[in-house]
Symmetry: C2
Subunit: 123 residues, 2 copies
């Protein structure tokens, strides 16, 4: 699941690293959210996220599936169709994302003062 480096580090940090590795990539959350929003098929997801290439999407979907955040189902014969669905487990991420969001907003205020406070909290 994770690359096996720096095992030595503060062991309490390991679960934090796991989480960051799982949701921290450039695309992971975008893809997950796209699926949460109802996009189910490969091309559908791909089209919903600008700049995302098939290669990367393919890899990211595998990662998400390995981590049981989505399920992958092959539907029928020809042409092949697959369906990606979010798992119940993926819902447990919402709280984490909420905190990340929260801190991001808090941090922006801290850094920039009070402009651009127009962003919804819903994920």
């Amino acid at each position: 699941m994770r690359k096996k480096e720096h095992k030595e580090c503060t062991s309490a940090l390991l679960p934090v690293r796991d989480t960051l590795d799982i949701i921290g990539g450039k695309w992971k959350l975008l893809i997950l959210i796209s699926i949460w929003e109802g996009n189910k098929h490969f091309r559908e997801i791909e089209r919903s996220i600008p700049k995302l290439s098939t290669k990367v999407l393919s890899k990211e979907l595998k990662d998400l599936e390995e981590n049981q955040l989505i399920t992958r189902t092959v539907i029928n014969g020809f042409p092949v169709r697959t369906k990606y669905m979010p798992t119940e487990h993926s819902k447990t991420l919402e709280k984490v994302i909420f905190e990340l969001h929260n801190w991001g907003v808090h941090h922006r205020k801290k850094i920039f003062g009070n402009k651009s406070s127009n962003s919804s909290v819903s994920v």
Copy 2:
């Protein structure tokens, strides 16, 4: 602060991205924690984190300083000495880290069943 790509994406996600960019790197949290633990000087921090090179540490410290998570003070003339200290603002990250930790532990259980549940929650 962030690379200016994919502005188009779900705007509620932007603060999340900010947060992830700030703490998400390979070293950021390790360095921050090292400083929290009391390491103050460049070499001191470097030595406390295996495999960390001066170049990377130098860059990461700048990032952390830009984001007002640490302060940098030059102490005296020769040889030069600097002091890095955590800011109050950095403390607001603890909740986020706690949630990341929490989910990581939860996730490990989900994936692996119940082994290796020996990690303290303190960060």
